[in-house]
Symmetry: C2
Subunit: 229 residues, 2 copies
DNA sequence: GGGTGAGGTTCTGTATACAACACACAGCAC
DNA sequence: GTGCTGTGTGTTGTATACAGAACCTCACCC
């Protein structure tokens, strides 16, 4: 009888080294470049060219491009190849409409499932956020950490995966926040409502707070886009 | 300057033959086998073995497995390989909780965006459904056609993609319906509420009707699972 | 007897080679 | 001048070859 590698899939500790395949490495590298804007939206990503630039063969590059397609960072047309996914104000609004359907519920379920230890862990991250208010980039990262940690406790794994999927698409826009004046100051206040709900284990309040956070984020991104154009 | 193949991506007519790559063919073939239960959940899918059975090399098989992973039909662990995704009552409940977040809204937006021609098209599919009531398998297919046609008009493409993603996971459970006594008779009545809303262009009513349909579907699947175990 | 390590087997991950398709451009006919 | 066709180049899609990791077995040692 075939015994499945349940442990390898579910547990974290067994793989401290975190097997990182070349394809995943290339995908991360390319994603970084796309997010930072070094790869301009709409430009073609030739397999051979990417392979040459990354210093690997076409095989892992090919897989990396499929991964990024699934994450919405590139578009692939059969027999034509990949190109950097375009970004637009419409995409932002569509994406955030979806996030608002998924994440508040995900947050509510997660909060309801929090154990005392988990709350303590989140409290640590929260204080890290407070200490990072002066550093926008660092604040942004810790902020993401908080949500990632929180969502991790959502008992509905399918929902969690969908939320993470939308995140991967949204990451592309988050760099905007770091350049916003008074971004951290306002965020930390909004975030307090969420964190208070977490401390109380109040799922409904957390859901509401998350929705407000998302609404503001969308507005800021859209406003920035309109300002640019 | 690189000119993107906008036409190839957006229009339908240019590709009447519908380019079907080997990897996609293998993916469909394997998906069919998984959905039908010929490939038992949890069993390993060795690349070499699948390649031999499909009569192709490992390359397209490898890609096919990644595709199916994205569609939730197989699970892949690094340096271990793929196995047929397991199914369970928990998965059904998680999946349908997600569908209930996404689809009713998607339906509402689609209905609001329907043009007279679209409504006429849906009316045709509806009458095909009515004629297929006696044939459960055929009814199921036409039923899916209706939803697919409807959702196609949702202006939020991101949402549509998420809905289609959850469908690909849900397909696995739909074969249950065809074996349910009086499945079509009840469905056609439930569906009438949705179709009436479509005819009237009443998004809110359509959203509500869709939610009821999903609730029933979930109950039926869960009940069947419990009956089996 | 139980644990441990060497060896072999099998599979994935990566590299490379080849085939087929798509597109652009030049040349020609009308 | 316009439209078509054929050729050439570049890219993807598929096949195959190779390397390395994981696992299983089994003998050996404590």
């Amino acid at each position: 009888m075939i015994e499945p590698p349940t442990l390898s899939l579910d547990q974290d500790p067994p793989h401290p080294a975190e097997h990182k395949l070349l394809s995943r490495t290339v995908a991360d590298w390319l994603a970084e470049r796309i997010i930072s804007g070094e790869e301009v939206p709409g430009s073609r990503l030739t397999e051979t060219d990417v392979a040459r630039r990354a210093g690997v063969s076409r095989s892992p590059v090919r897989e990396a491009l499929r991964i990024l397609e699934g994450e919405g960072l590139v578009q692939i047309a059969p027999r034509y190849g990949a190109q950097v996914a375009r970004v637009g104000i419409d995409d932002v609004e569509e994406l955030y409409a979806c996030r608002m359907l998924l994440e508040p519920v995900c947050t509510r379920l997660a909060v309801a499932a929090l154990a005392p230890d988990d709350i303590a862990e989140l409290d640590v991250v929260r204080s890290r956020m407070e200490r990072a208010v002066a550093n926008p980039v660092r604040f942004l990262n810790v902020n993401v950490d908080y949500f990632r940690t929180l969502v991790l406790h959502c008992p509905n794994e399918t929902l969690r995966e969908l939320v993470e999927l939308t995140w991967k698409k949204a990451v592309r826009y988050w760099s905007i926040f770091a350049r916003l004046p008074r971004y951290a100051e306002i965020s930390i206040v909004q975030h307090k409502a969420l964190h208070d709900a977490v401390l109380l284990g109040d799922g409904a309040a957390a859901e509401h707070a998350d929705r407000l956070i998302l609404e503001r984020a969308q507005k800021e991104i859209v406003a920035t886009f309109e300002h640019i154009s």
